[in-house]
């Protein structure tokens, strides 16, 4: 076993592979940071370059882009309030709030260290517990998926902001938005009002950019004119690096979040978004230190979300490598990469090409460390962006949002949809309705509905089918608990509603 790992290290550390890893990570960071360019799109764009590369170099390049994309999604989230990825929405809520308090550098270091910790944790779990996680994920059928989505939505809705009613209104609005378009089972058109634009449904990137990023600029426009966005103070590495005591203080979050991330990442179709929201919701629910700061710049929330979304990469890769099932869009792209090089991911690959499997393990380990160095070096550079005149800075964010929304389908209609969501987002924020549950519900709505309908089909229409397995019972009980718990724990949350 040691020989295999030593050989894998030797292969991955070859100059061409190190260059590929660095280029992939840089590209991934850029793709993840820009709204409208998802990590999966970043990986797809690199796929065509891998035809001529050796299999190991190709995978090192793509792994770099994958992990870089997940890590980079949080850079613009913290600095500008633009989520590069749906999984970065909790990071926008807490990280951007910290940045607005003049603690951008601190938030960036917390995010980076937690991301890398989560990533490394999941790689070690992937190496040690691949068979266990794969078996557990295989037990998930439609009822379990439905229960998982209900848990994710209830955790976020129940704890988002000062009013549960507003959280649930936002959540159900998101679930409604997810039903717009063609029904995946019957082919029926729903709420399309005979428009072609809505036939394919509402793209969550368009909604996300409008609800979060553009509406943020409208909210900021209410403030008196300022020449610059905010503080860009950087007191050097030692001055900004979070103390070890911070991680000691939140040790439970640091352990729980990567576990959630790895397990949820291993579930096909779940991925980094549910992982980040679940871990964030759990951190908010069980917060002992400064729970009132959630939504206003809670370091614990930022840590939970970042640990979990990066940890999901290891979980996704585990079931890809052991079962050949892609756990996320991006790992689905990696299946294509395997096929380009004449391989089929799955149980047989471990015995036929152990060099590739162990090489991928080592590449993921080293890429996480490389990302720590690359992003850590660039933090000061990212912060300098705040020196742009505020008016131009806002215009630049608006233009980036337009590019992101237009680039998805090359469609002007998406721009108008984004504009509509930005106005809705502005009024939601103005009247204290949180936008995060709406976005999560929009992302998960399809999965929730299809899982429910498939469960009912399997059980012949009996709702008891939804609680037919211990896993779904536990998950649904968790959902119920997450709704009921805040009512007793924080009764003031319902004041005035």
């Amino acid at each position: 076993m040691v020989d295999i790992y030593l050989q894998a290290f030797a292969t991955v550390l070859m100059p061409q592979n190190l260059i590929a890893m660095t280029l992939g990570a840089l590209w991934g960071l850029l793709a993840g940071a820009l709204p409208g360019i998802s990590t999966s799109m970043g990986v797809v764009l690199l796929l065509s370059f891998t035809y001529t590369l050796s299999p190991m170099t190709a995978f090192v390049l793509l792994i770099g882009a994958y992990l870089g994309g997940i890590t980079g999604g949080s850079i613009t989230s913290i600095l500008f309030g633009i989520p590069g990825e749906p999984s970065s929405v909790p990071t926008v809520i807490e990280g951007h709030a910290l940045a607005k308090q003049g603690r951008a550098a601190y938030a960036m270091w917390v995010y980076l260290l937690c991301s890398i910790f989560g990533g490394l944790f999941s790689v070690f779990v992937m190496i040690l517990a691949t068979p266990l996680i794969a078996n557990f994920a295989l037990r998930f059928g439609p009822p379990e998926y439905f229960a998982l989505t209900v848990l994710g939505l209830s955790v976020v809705s129940g704890l988002s902001g000062g009013s549960m009613l507003k959280g649930f209104l936002s959540c159900f609005f998101g679930l409604f938005l997810a039903t717009v378009g063609t029904d995946g089972i019957t082919g029926e058109e729903r709420f399309t009002f005979d428009t072609v634009t809505l036939l394919g449904g509402i793209n969550f990137v368009v909604a996300m950019v409008g609800l979060l990023a553009v509406s943020e600029i409208f909210i900021e426009a209410e403030e008196p004119f300022k020449e610059y966005k905010g503080g860009v103070e950087y007191r050097g590495l030692l001055g900004e690096l979070p103390p070890f005591s911070l991680f000691k203080k939140y040790w439970l979050t640091m352990i729980r979040s990567p576990i959630i991330g790895t397990i949820v990442g291993a579930l096909p179709g779940a991925g980094a978004t549910i992982a980040a929201f679940l871990a964030y919701g759990e951190a908010a629910r069980t917060a002992k230190h400064e729970p009132e700061k959630f939504g206003k710049g809670a370091v614990e929330g930022l840590m939970a979300a970042e640990c979990a979304n990066n940890a999901s990469t290891g979980g996704s890769m585990t079931i890809l490598l052991s079962l050949g099932i892609p756990g996320s869009n991006t790992t689905a792209m990696l299946v294509a990469a395997f096929m380009i090089h004449g391989m089929q991911p799955g149980p047989l690959l471990l015995s036929t090409r152990p060099d590739i499997i162990y090489g991928i393990f080592v590449a993921m380990l080293l890429t996480n460390l490389l990302l720590l160095v690359l992003t850590g070096t660039a933090i000061r550079l990212f912060l300098e962006l705040n020196r742009l005149p505020y008016s131009v800075f806002s215009a630049a964010i608006m233009i980036l949002c337009v590019i992101g929304a237009f680039g998805l389908n090359n469609s002007v209609d998406d721009l108008f949809l984004m504009f509509g969501f930005s106005v809705i987002g502005y009024f939601m924020r103005k009247f204290g309705v949180p936008v995060a549950p709406c976005i999560l519900a929009l992302v998960l709505g399809d999965l929730a509905e299809l899982s429910l309908r498939r469960s009912l089909l399997l059980s012949g229409g009996s709702p008891l089918g939804l609680v037919s397995s211990p896993i779904s019972v536990i998950l649904l009980a968790g959902a119920l608990f997450s709704i009921v718990y805040p009512l007793f724990k924080k009764p003031k949350m319902l004041d005035g509603v």
Partner: protein
């Protein structure tokens, strides 16, 4: 603000009420033994409508309980007016930008949008208003259109010809 909240939740009630009415057409559609296309959206809209009604009632109660008398200083009224004007201008300029972008193409519309939006936010420095549109547009076209090759709106007629020189 309280009046605004009442109006907001009243609009929510009306919107979800209308959508529920529209969704009733979907009820019962689907194959035998299947719950159909309508149940899930009706559940989501119905719950949204109920929450909106609850929030509307709560807002009205709060408004009545706290009374309508608001001791606002002339400065506060002027500040609120300034906020409304700035936000309205930002929203309108953004909307116009999206309306003209398919016709004028990305470069021309962005060159005009940046200074107009900056002016709407209160920017008055001439150097910023004159230099930033060219600098920002140039960087964005170079990075996104040339390097990453993301599709940009080209515009029509002469504007499309101009855009093709760059992307």
């Amino acid at each position: 603000m309280k009046k605004g909240e009442i109006v907001f939740f009243a609009i929510c009630v009306a919107f979800f009420g209308f959508m529920f009415y529209e969704g009733l057409d979907l009820a019962g559609q689907g194959r035998a033994g299947e719950i159909g296309s309508g149940l899930w959206p009706l559940l989501a809209i119905g719950a949204s409508a109920l929450f909106s009604v609850a929030l509307l009632i709560s807002s009205v109660k709060k408004y009545r309980g706290e009374g309508t008398a608001e001791d606002r200083t002339p400065e506060a009224i002027a500040e609120q007016k300034r906020q409304r004007i700035t936000v309205t201008l930002s929203v309108v300029t953004f909307l116009i930008y999206m309306v003209v972008i398919p016709w004028l193409g990305f470069i021309f519309s962005t060159l005009v949008y940046i200074p107009v939006f900056a002016l709407a936010l209160g920017e008055r420095r001439k150097s910023v208003l004159l230099i930033s549109p060219f600098l920002l547009t140039g960087i964005i076209v170079a990075v996104f259109a040339k390097f990453i090759t993301i599709p940009f709106p080209k515009g029509v007629g002469i504007f499309a010809e101009f855009s093709r020189l760059f992307y």
